[in-house]
Symmetry: C2
Subunit: 349 residues, 2 copies
């Protein structure tokens, strides 16, 4: 049939109007008479024209309607964390208000494939995480003059970022535990650095990951001497490994464990039950994130509910604001303490 796809001027010719009129019929930017409108639609249908070519439209408008989301790891890995997936959900929401979709981009530093950060037709970018690599990504994007927002990362000077009140929130949970009467408390932390080493955190060790450091500081504000055990990642199995270490010696068992994520907390609970301890009767456990942990039922975790979806939405809206030359706002978000069934007063000895 046709050797090439119909364009808007083909349609216009067929309908006996000018190209600009046909364009207006599709965009609806200017009122048109019902008659011409119908003629154009009919002409389009007869030619198999399905609407303006997005590439040409975006060149003309100077906007692609696409927001890039930049990860520094495999997508499979990133999406393993429910917090990330919820955040993506919120982000999708936040940018859709702006009429945009999300382009998944991975910055693994060595990739030569296109479109990369250099060449992707994006109107704005959202950077997830805070690895050193991200600094490079940031440079590239800024070099292109593209608005950027950072989530869960320290971007440096003047880059808007979505922040959580990690320290304050964790402190609140710790206060709850203290109020119940606990004194022997152990903290299970998220990874402390990119090496992701497991083990007890020495007093003089520096914690390089912001989230981990902030939550640790919040807990230590209440329990200055509580030992802290780092997990290699945020997962149930890692939590269980930490838990087994903690509950190994029956004589030195804490009465409460403050975990820095719900997944870790779930693992700690599992380890406790393996060790014959009942939660919360024998040991209390708190989490962080407020995600649904599949398989944790019937327990309801005492935790800090992080507004993961809102975090994404905030990033999306910040990006939207920047595209309209407005100052992004609403970037500081708060966690909410939720008391579940995994905390109780310590057992009486």
């Amino acid at each position: 049939m046709s050797t090439r796809r119909a364009t808007i001027s083909d349609v216009a010719r067929e309908a006996g109007v000018s190209a600009s009129t046909a364009s207006v019929v599709f965009s609806g930017k200017t009122p048109t008479s019902e008659a011409t409108r119908a003629r154009v639609i009919a002409a389009a249908a007869s030619l198999g024209y399905t609407g303006p070519d997005p590439r040409a439209a975006s060149l003309r408008r100077g906007r692609s309607g696409i927001v890039g989301v930049v990860f520094d790891q495999h997508l499979g890995t990133a999406f393993l964390d429910p917090v990330t997936t919820h955040m993506m959900d919120g982000l999708a929401d936040g940018v859709s208000r702006l009429g945009a979709a999300l382009l998944l981009l991975r910055d693994d530093g060595v990739t030569v494939s296109e479109p990369s950060l250099h060449t992707a037709p994006i109107d704005a970018a959202v950077l997830i995480g805070c690895s050193p690599r991200m600094r490079d990504s940031l440079e590239i994007v800024r070099g292109r003059g593209i608005p950027v927002v950072v989530v869960e990362g320290d971007a440096g000077e003047g880059i808007p970022r979505v922040l959580l009140d990690n320290a304050e929130a964790q402190r609140e949970a710790a206060l709850h535990v203290a109020a119940l009467g606990h004194r022997d408390v152990v903290i299970v932390t998220l990874p402390t650095d990119t090496a992701r080493r497991r083990g007890w955190i020495a007093d003089d060790a520096e914690v390089r990951v912001d989230v981990t450091a902030d939550r640790l500081a919040g807990a230590r504000a209440v329990f200055p001497d509580a030992p802290a055990l780092a997990a290699a990642t945020s997962s149930i199995d890692e939590g269980a490994i930490a838990g087994r270490t903690i509950f190994a010696d029956p004589d030195r068992r804490p009465t409460a464990v403050i975990a820095q994520s719900d997944l870790l907390a779930a693992g700690v609970i599992r380890a406790a039950e393996e060790a014959g301890l009942r939660v919360p009767h024998d040991v209390s456990v708190t989490g962080f994130d407020g995600v649904v942990v599949d398989g944790l039922a019937p327990h309801v975790l005492t935790t800090l509910v992080q507004p993961a979806t809102a975090k994404g939405r905030a990033a999306g809206e910040a990006v939207a604001a920047m595209l309209e030359d407005a100052e992004p706002s609403g970037l500081a978000l708060s966690c909410t303490f939720r008391e579940g069934t995994t905390t109780a007063p310590p057992p009486t000895r």
Copy 2:
């Protein structure tokens, strides 16, 4: 400073060459002398030019380098399933070979936000799942003349789709269970329709979801009379609910449960242990998918390992082929049986 961004002709003027020469320097399509190359690079640097405008380039080339991934549900929900996230990982891989990135698109039928399937600057599309809605999405994309591949769904006439040997694989697992000596077997299935109703599947009930139907057929090929219990979704908690139903009556307990997903299997195992049964000594359990189930340790599930990442990669490569006017191939994938620690001969009575 500058009221508008520099273009390639600005750079060319600054470097004292023509625009096309400057273009060639950036694209590398034609050899250039080292001298002009250096001049152009320098000029670009001094003007803050960071490369061709992707919008203009894609208009010119007729390609955007973007592949759309269409979901029929919230991203947060879709990404809850590890099979989906792994598939995304593979897909990202598969299309990157082609030099493309992934655009997340959701077709919820009512959305008016742009860019939608109608207006997104995509070179090709991958449809995930098989809900009725997807048919509409398919129409839209085909109408635009865009190559499309369907994953895990029935697309109808002539649409390439990535297929798994669900029935054959499930049959293999069932044979394994039968060979161990089991005769009393119950099947726990994935949802049977979009209503996602829980409960025993009547003999004359029609199963509308391909995956569920195929795996069920595979199991029934070995155990024609095995009762089948449908779960509302693929999760540990749903598996546990099904398990509790199955193990409720001590006198009518099966000696083996064939679950249609690893998450369901994990839940069944949990329910079995709640009921005081040991796995695999008292009851054997098989799964399907071969994903890492967080929190299942120390069990290793006997399951069918689905090549989830390969599935995504296959879809990506199929799309790549179609863009080069080649026939997509390699769309039929096989699962691999993996014997774990959750199956054993039935207890002797």
